[in-house]
Symmetry: D4
Subunit: 213 residues, 8 copies
C-alpha cells in the first residue's frame, strides 16, 4: 500500500507511466512496475544507476536499460506513434545525460527526436551552422548547464516553443544548476517554458503534451 | 540609436511587438511605438502605470490602455485570429493583474481566452466545480502567488500543457514570488513549463507559440 | 557529564524521552538510554542507521529497532494509552520514512495512528477517494517533499489542526526540503503549523501535546 | 466574479471569514464583506492600514477597526463563545502589532485571551516571574522577532502546544523575519508549530482549531 | 577629517580621482572635490542624482553634469589622451545608464569609446550585423541585465579581453542583478572578468588599466 | 504594560539603559525614558531620526540629540568614568554614522574614545601611517561596509581584541551588509568578534564589557 | 616556500602558533611544525582527523593528539600561565567537539577553563541551576547549534563578555550552522561577539586577547 | 558527435585548446585530445584527478600531468612565447592548487609567471616585504579563499590590472567560495576583474588576452 499508481493519468494523457527511482527500494520499484505493466504498454523508471539496474534485472529479466539516460523500461507492446518532431539540443558534452533522459522518454512516448549536442553560445558559429534543424522540429528542448544561455538564442531564432532544462553541470557559482535556471527564467526571448534542474524527463512529457494539443 | 527593434521576430512569429516599459523614458517608448507601427498591425507596451500612460497619450493619442493588465496598445489594423482557446486561471483575487496581462496579450495575439479567477487549492471544491473548463481549452495558463500549488492540481487533471506563472503576491517567506516559483518547478505533475515571477506577458507568448505549432 | 537528561520534560509532558542520534558515539547513546530507563517506561533514539543499531544492540540487547522509521526503543513497561487518533498522510512513497518516524513516535506515546500513503496533489482523486479518513482523526500530520502542496489541500478539507512536515525528498530546486517548507509556510489554508525538514518525531510530539490539551 | 468566497470553510470550521487586505481595491473588499455578511455573524479583514479603513468606512459605516491589530470587523451578531484560553506572549514591545492581530482574531473567534508582552530571553527573569500564565492557558502563541528564541524557552516550560510566530522586527541579518523563523524551526524544544513571518491571524486560527479538537 | 583622499592612487595610476556619491552630504562631496582639484586635472563623482547635482552646483558652479551617466565632473585642465579604443555594448535599452557611466569615465580617462546599444542575444542577428566593431576595439565592456548572456557570445567572437557588467535591470528572479552576474561568472567563454552589479565606473577603470599595461 | 524595562541588566552591568527606537511610538519611547530615568543616570535611545527627535523633545525637553549617531540621551547625572581607551576606525567616510553610534555609546558609558576615519584597505598606506593608534587603545572597534576587509588587517597588526561591525554601505552584491559580514566572519586573523550589520551600539556595549572584565 | 609563517603574530600576541589542517599534505604540516618549533614553545594544528594524526606521528613522534578537539600539539616547553578564567558552555552533547577545540586551545594558551556541557535553553532549569559558574569566569564562550539561543540567555545573565560560537550541528533549516549564527548575530542581549561556524579555536584566541588586555 | 571542438577559438586567440574534465568519460577526453592535437601544438585538460590521469595515460602515453594543478597536457610542438609577465599570488598555502592551475595554463600559453604564495592580509608585512614583485609584472592574478581580501590590497598598491580568483578554501560561512567572491566583487579598489570560484584556468586565459591586446 506504499504506492497509489495514478493510472488515471496514463489514461488522460496517453503517456507511459513513470517511476521516480531515487529513495525507493528495488522491491518497491519492481512491485510498481508489475502493477503498471498490467495496464500500459510502456512503463519506465528514471534516475536508475547501473548498480540498481542490476538488482532490478534479477527480479524482472525483461527490463531494458538505457545507460546514458539512466532509464529502465518495461515494454509489453509497441507504443503508438504520434506525428511531430522534437529537437533536443545541448550546450556542452557534459549535458548529454540529461538530454538523453529527455530523448529516450520522448521516443518511448511515440515521437521522433532530432539530437544536436555541444552547440553552446561561447562558439555561436556552431549553432548557426546547424540552424536548419530548428525549422524541421515542432518543439525544441534545450539543455544547458554553466551559464545556460543557449535557450535564449534558440528561442530568438526559432518559431516553435522552447522547453529549457538547466543542468547541474558547473562549479562554484553555478550552484548545482541555479545559475542556468535563473538565466532561463530571465530570458529576454519569448516562448520559453522552464523545467526544474536536470529534469529531462519532464521536458519530454511537456513536449509530448504540446505536440498532442 | 538606443533601440534596435527586432522586426525579424515579429516576422518569424506573427506575434505583436512588445515594449518592456520600466526604465524607459516616455520619449523612448513613443519613439519605439512609432518605429514598430510602420511594420506591424499591433504593438504593445507592458508594465505601464496609469501616470505613464497619461504622459504617453499626450504624445500618441491613438494609444489604448488596459488598466488592470497595465498594457498600452497601438493598433493600426485588426490582428489575424487563430484557432485554439487559452484557459487562464488564478489562485486568488490578488493574482488577477498578472492574469490579465496574459489575457490581454493573448487576445491581441488573436486567440480566444477563457478566464477563471480565485480557485486556489485551499478550497479545492472551487476548482472541482469548474473542471469542465479544462476540457474546453488547448493550453492552460495558471497564475498563483502565496504557496503556488494550483498548477500541480490543474496539470494532474488536464490533458493540455500548463504554463505556470508565479506571482509576487504574498508576504514573509513568499520572498516576492520565489516560494510559488519553487512550488511550480518542483511539481510532481508533468506537463508544466514555468515562467519568471509575474510574467503574464511571456506566458501568453508561449501559449501562442504552442497553439501555432 | 556530557549530557544533562531533562527528566523534568518527561514528567511535565508524559511523553517518552528521546535521544537525537547523529553525532553521538554509541557509548554516549547507551549511557543516556541507561540513565533514562531508570525513570521512564519508554525511551527512544531517532535517526539511528542500521549499522549504528547493531553497535548499540551489542551493548543493550533489549533495544528494539524500527528500520523504516530508523527509531530504537528501550521499553521497560507498557506506556499509558490516550484517547484521540492521529492521521498521518504522505504525498509520495519516498516520504514514508519520515512519516513512519512520526507514526512510531505517536504509537509509543500512546496514541492511535491511521496511515495514508502516496496521495499527493498531482493526482487529486487519490486524496478525494480517501477523504473520510480526515473526519475520523483529531489531528493530521501531512508529510510531503517535492512541491509540498498536500497540507494546503488537506487543511482546506479538514476541521482538525494540520501539522505539516516538509521532507528532503526532491532534487534541483527542492533544495533539500526548502521548497516544500516554503509552500507550507505560505499556505492560503488556515490551521497549519509547520515543522523543520524531515522532523517526523517533532510532528508526533506536537500532535501529542495537542491531543492532551 | 473576482472572488469565490469559501463559505464551505466557515461551515466546516465555525470560524469567522477573513479577507486578506493587501492588493485588493476598497471596492473589492467591501463587495466581499457584503457577500460574507449574508452568511456569517463575524467577518474580518486583516492588514488594513488606517487610510484604507477610512475609505472602507465611507462605504460600510458599520465596520469596526482595531488599529494596533490593523483588523476591520463586520459583526452582525455575537459569535459563539468556546471553552479554552489562549496565552499570547511577545519577546519585545515592537512585536505587539502581530500579537494583537492574533489576539483580536482569537477573541472574535470566541476564545479567551491572556496577553503577556516584552518577556524576551535576554532578560529571562521577566518570563520566569510570569510563568504561572503558562499553566493557566491551553495553547500558547509566542511572537518574537530579532533572534526569536522565546518559543524554545516557553515550549521547554509549558505542557501545552506552542504556536511560534516570527516577526519582521529586526535589522541586518534578521532578513525581515527569516532569522527568528529559522530559530523556531530548529528549536530543540518539542511541541512547537511554526507560522509564516508576521502571521498572527493564522496563529489564532490554528489555536482555535486545536482548542476545538 | 572625514575623508583621507588617496592621492597616491591617482599618481600611481594616472586616472581621474572619483568620489562615490551615495551616503555623503553635499558639503562632504564639495569638500572632497576641492581637495582633489588641487592635485589632479579631472575629478568626478558618480551616482549623483539630478537633485543632488543642483545642490552641488550652487556651491561649485564649475561642476559639469552628465545626466544619463549620473556623473559630475570638475575639470581644471584637459586630461592626457591615451592610445587604445574601448568598445561598450549593451544588451538592452534599459542598460544604457550603466554603460554611459562606463563611457563617460573612460572618455574622461583619455580613451576613445565606441558605443553599441541594444544588441542582446534574443535577437542574435543584431550583434552579428555589427560584429566588425569587435575587431576595432582593444577591450570590450559588455553591459547586460535580465539573463546577462551577451558577454559569453561576445567573448566567444572577440580576441580582446571582455569586461562584463551585470545590471540591476530585470524583475522577479533577476534579483536586482544577481541572475546576470551568475551568468557572467559561469560563462563557458574565456577571457571575461566580471564586475559588481551596475559598476560601470569600475569597468572603465579596469579597461584603462588594461590599455595602459 | 507594553515594556518590561530590564533594570536588572543595568545593575548587573553598570551600563546605560538603551531603547531601540524603530517601531515604537513617540509616546512609548517617552514612557520608557521616564521609567528608566528614575533608576539610572544615563538613558539613551538609538536609531532616532531627526523628525522623531523633534516629536520626543516636545514631550521631554531635557533630551539631548547626537545627529550623526542618531542617538537621544536623557542624562540626570554624570556617568562614572572608567579606565581604558577604545579605538574606533572606519574603512570609509560613509561608515561614520555607525561608528559614531558606537563612539557616543562608549563615551556615555564612561570610556575614552579615539576616532580614525576612512582608512580602508584599498589604500593601505593610510592605515600604516596611523598604526600607532593601535598601540594606544585597549580594544578596537572596526567599522566597514563594501568588502569589509579592514578588521582582518587591523587584527593582524594589533595585540588588543577587535570588534568588527559590518555596515550596510555598498550596492549590488554587498546585499545590505552581508558581504562585509561574511568577510569578517571568515577572517584569517584571530581575535575578532563580529556584530550584526550596522550594530555600532552593540559594539560599544561589548567593548565596555571587555574593558570592565 | 609554500608557507610564510607569521612569527610576528606570535611575538605580538604571546599565543601559540596554529596550523589550519584541512587541505594541507602531511608533509606540509610537518614542515610548518618544524619551522614553528624553533621559535615558540607551543605549536598546534587544528581539524586533524585521527587518520591524519597517524600520518603525522610517523614523521614527528613527539606530537600529542586531543581526539575530541581534533588538535595536534608540539610542545617544547611549558607555556606561560596567565590570570583569568574562561567559562565554556554548550547547548547540547553534540556541540562538545567544537567546545573542546576552544578548551584545549585556551589551556595551551595558559588560561584556566571551566566546562559546562548540555545546558541548552529548551530545559532552562539546567542553566539556572549552574548559574554561579557565570560569576566565577572572566569571559564566557558559548557553543550552540540547532537554534543557537543559549548565548542570548547567558549574556542576559552574566556581567562578562560572551563569545558566541555557532556549530554545524542540526539538520534541514539549520543550514550547517547558519540558523544558530543568525540567532547569535540578532541577539537582543548585549555583550556578544560572534565567531564563524564551528570556530572553537578562534573563540579561544579572542578570549585570550580579551583576558590579556 | 558528442563534442564540437571550437577550433575557431584557438585560431582567433592563439591559446591552447582546453577540455573541461569533470563529467566526461576517459574515452571522451581521449577522443577530444586526438581531434585537437591535429590542429594545435598544445592541448590541455583541467580538473583531472590522479586516478583519471592513469586511465588516460594508458590510452595516450604521450600525455604529461601536473599533479598540483591537476592539468593534463598533450604537446606536439613548442608553443610560441609572448612578452609580458604574470604575477600569481595566493593568500594562503591551501590556495596553491588553484594558483598552479593558473600558472601552468599561463606557462603553456607562452607567458612568464612569477609566483608568490601565502601573503594574505592577516599578516600584511608579508606582502609589503615582497611588494617589488608588483612592479615587475604586467598583470596580477590574486588567488584567495576565506575572507578573500588580498586582491583589494594588491589592486590598491599596483598599477597593473588585477584578476581576482576566489577559492573554495574555508568553512562555515565561506560557503564554498562565495564569501571571498563577494569580497572581490565589492572591492573599494579599482582595476579588479573577478572570476568564478576556483577558476584558475580562466584567470590565466584572461591574463593572456590582456597581455596580447
Ligand atoms: N511584461 C513583460 N514580461 C516579460 N517580458 C516582456 C514583457 N514586456 C515585454 N517583454 C519582453 O521585452 C522585450 C522588449 O524589451 P525592450 O527592447 O527593452 O523593449 C519584448 O520583446 C519582450 O520579449
Ligand atoms: N493576516 C493574514 N495572514 C495570513 N493569512 C490571512 C490573513 N488574513 C487573511 N488570510 C487568509 O487569506 C484568505 C483570504 O484571501 P483572499 O481570498 O485573497 O481574501 C483568508 O481566508 C485567510 O485564510
Ligand atoms: N542600535 C542598537 N543596535 C542594537 N541593539 C540595540 C540598539 N539600541 C538598543 N538595542 C538593544 O535593544 C534593547 C532595547 O530594546 P527595546 O526593549 O525594544 O527598547 C536594548 O536594551 C539594547 O540591548
Ligand atoms: N578549469 C577550468 N575552469 C574553467 N573553465 C574551463 C576549465 N577548463 C576548461 N574550461 C573551459 O571549458 C571549455 C571546454 O568545455 P568542454 O567543451 O565541455 O570540454 C574550455 O574551452 C574552456 O573554456
Ligand atoms: Mg564543449
Ligand atoms: Mg480568495
Ligand atoms: Mg507516488
Ligand atoms: Mg524590550
Ligand atoms: Mg531591446
Ligand atoms: Mg574614502
Ligand atoms: Mg542534550
Ligand atoms: Mg598561511
Amino acid at each position: 500500500d506504499f504506492a497509489k499508481v495514478d493510472h488515471h493519468r496514463s489514461l488522460r494523457t496517453g503517456f507511459p507511466e513513470a517511476i521516480w527511482g531515487p529513495g525507493k527500494t528495488p522491491e518497491q520499484i519492481v512491485a510498481i512496475f508489475r502493477t503498471m505493466s498490467e495496464r500500459v504498454p510502456v512503463a519506465l523508471a528514471t534516475r536508475i544507476e547501473p548498480e540498481v539496474f542490476q538488482q532490478l534485472q534479477v527480479r524482472l529479466p525483461e527490463l531494458h536499460y538505457h545507460p546514458t539516460a539512466r532509464i529502465c523500461v518495461l515494454q509489453t507492446a509497441d507504443p503508438p506513434q504520434y506525428p511531430g518532431a522534437i529537437g533536443i539540443l545541448t550546450a556542452g558534452t557534459v549535458d548529454i545525460p540529461v538530454a538523453e533522459e529527455a530523448a529516450v522518454t520522448a521516443e518511448l512516448s511515440g515521437f521522433e527526436v532530432q539530437r544536436l549536442w555541444d552547440v553552446g553560445v561561447a562558439g555561436i558559429h556552431r549553432l548557426l551552422s546547424h540552424r536548419t534543424l530548428l525549422d524541421r522540429v515542432d518543439v525544441a528542448i534545450v539543455v544547458a548547464g554553466m551559464e545556460g544561455a543557449l535557450p535564449s538564442v534558440v528561442a530568438g531564432m526559432a518559431a516553435c516553443p522552447v522547453i529549457a532544462v538547466p543542468t547541474s553541470v558547473g562549479y562554484g557559482t553555478s550552484f548545482g544548476g541555479i545559475a542556468p535556471l535563473l538565466t532561463m527564467l530571465n530570458s529576454c526571448a519569448t516562448g520559453i517554458g522552464v523545467m526544474n534542474v536536470d529534469n529531462g524527463f519532464g521536458a519530454a512529457m511537456l513536449a509530448g503534451k504540446i505536440l498532442r494539443t
